[in-house]
C-alpha cells in the first residue's frame, strides 16, 4: 500500500515497513522514528547506516550480530531503540522486518 511519509508517497506493507528501499531517505527515516517516539541523534543514524549496509549485503540481522558489529553493543542498542530495537530500527532504516529469533 501507499503511504505519505515526509511529504512523499512510499510503498509500505501492512505493518508499516517500507517495501522499496530506494524510496527511503533521511526525512522518511526521521518521520518513521517519530512514529516510534524516537528522537534521532547522530548515534542513531550510525546504527541505521550499519543496518542498511548489512541489508544491502544481504546479511540477515540478529541481536547477536548487532552485538558483534563493532558499531554498537547490545546494551546501547536497547537504549537507543528501547522498545523492540531490531524491529523498530529496521523500520526506521526502511528495510524489511527481521525474521530472527535471536
Amino acid at each position: 500500500m501507499e503511504k505519505i511519509i515526509a511529504g512523499i508517497p512510499v510503498q509500505v506493507n501492512e505493518e508499516g515497513y517500507l517495501t522499496d528501499f530506494p524510496q527511503w531517505n533521511q526525512a522518511v527515516g526521521t518521520e518513521l522514528a517519530q512514529e516510534a517516539s524516537i528522537d534521532m541523534t547522530p548515534r542513531h543514524w550510525e546504527v541505521i547506516a550499519y543496518l542498511q549496509k548489512e541489508f544491502k549485503n544481504e546479511v540477515p540481522l540478529s541481536i547477536r550480530k548487532i552485538g558483534k558489529s563493532g558499531v554498537v553493543d547490545i546494551k546501547e542498542f536497547y537504549q537507543l531503540f528501547p522498545m523492540a530495537p531490531l524491529k523498530t530500527a529496521s523500520k526506521i532504516a526502511g528495510i524489511p522486518k527481521p525474521v530472527s529469533c535471536i
Binding site: S62, I63, R64, K65, G67, D73, I74, K75, Y78, P82, M83, A84, P85, L86, K87, S100, C101, I102
Partner: protein, 160 residues
C-alpha cells in the same frame, strides 16, 4: 476496570532443568520477549541453577535417555559418551544457525535487560554460594520475591 487489552507486558520464566535443550528454550523465550519490547525475568531453580553456575554452565548436555525425540533406543542412549556425542552434534548445528553458547547467551540476556534470579531454596539444597554463580545474576531470592517481581497487569509466567 483496567485498560489492558490483552498485551503481554512481562514474561516470568522459571527454569528448573539443566538439559541443554531446556536451557536454550528458556533463553530464546526470554530474549525473544525483549526483542518484542516485552520485559523478561528468569528464575533458576533446582537443576536449572546449573545454567548460571560458573563451573557447570559450559558443560551442559542434551538428554539422550528418556527423550523420545532422539529416536534412539534407551539402552544405546545410556552408553558412555553418547550424551557428549549428541551434545557435540547439536552444538555444531547451533553454531550454524548463529546460536550463542550458554555463557554468551547469558551476556546477551543481561545486555538486553533480562533480570536473572537464583532460587534461594535450591541454592541451599545444592550448597551453592552467590560467588559460584555467573557474575551478573541479579540476586538470590525466594519464590515469594519472584512472584512480587511479576506483579502488574499483563504478566505471564512460564515453567520449564
Amino acid at each position: 476496570m483496567n485498560d489492558n487489552n490483552g498485551d503481554i507486558k512481562k514474561m516470568m520464566i522459571i527454569l528448573s532443568k539443566a538439559t541443554l535443550e531446556n536451557v536454550y528454550a528458556a533463553f530464546v523465550l526470554a530474549n525473544g520477549a525483549r526483542m518484542e519490547g516485552i520485559e523478561a525475568e528468569m528464575f533458576f531453580t533446582f537443576f536449572g541453577l546449573e545454567a548460571i553456575h560458573k563451573k557447570k554452565l559450559e558443560h551442559l548436555h542434551i538428554a539422550t535417555v528418556g527423550n523420545p525425540a532422539m529416536h534412539m533406543p534407551t539402552l544405546l542412549g545410556g552408553l558412555p559418551g553418547m550424551e557428549a556425542l549428541a551434545t557435540h552434534m547439536m552444538k555444531k548445528e547451533m553454531e550454524r544457525i548463529d546460536m550463542p553458547d550458554v555463557h554468551e547467551f547469558l551476556d546477551i540476556l543481561k545486555a538486553s535487560g533480562v533480570k536473572l534470579w537464583a532460587c534461594k531454596l535450591a541454592m541451599d539444597m545444592f550448597h551453592y554460594k552467590k560467588e559460584d554463580l555467573y557474575d551478573d545474576v541479579d540476586g538470590v531470592i525466594t519464590v515469594g520475591d519472584f512472584y512480587k517481581q511479576g506483579s502488574g497487569v499483563g504478566t505471564h509466567m512460564l515453567f520449564i
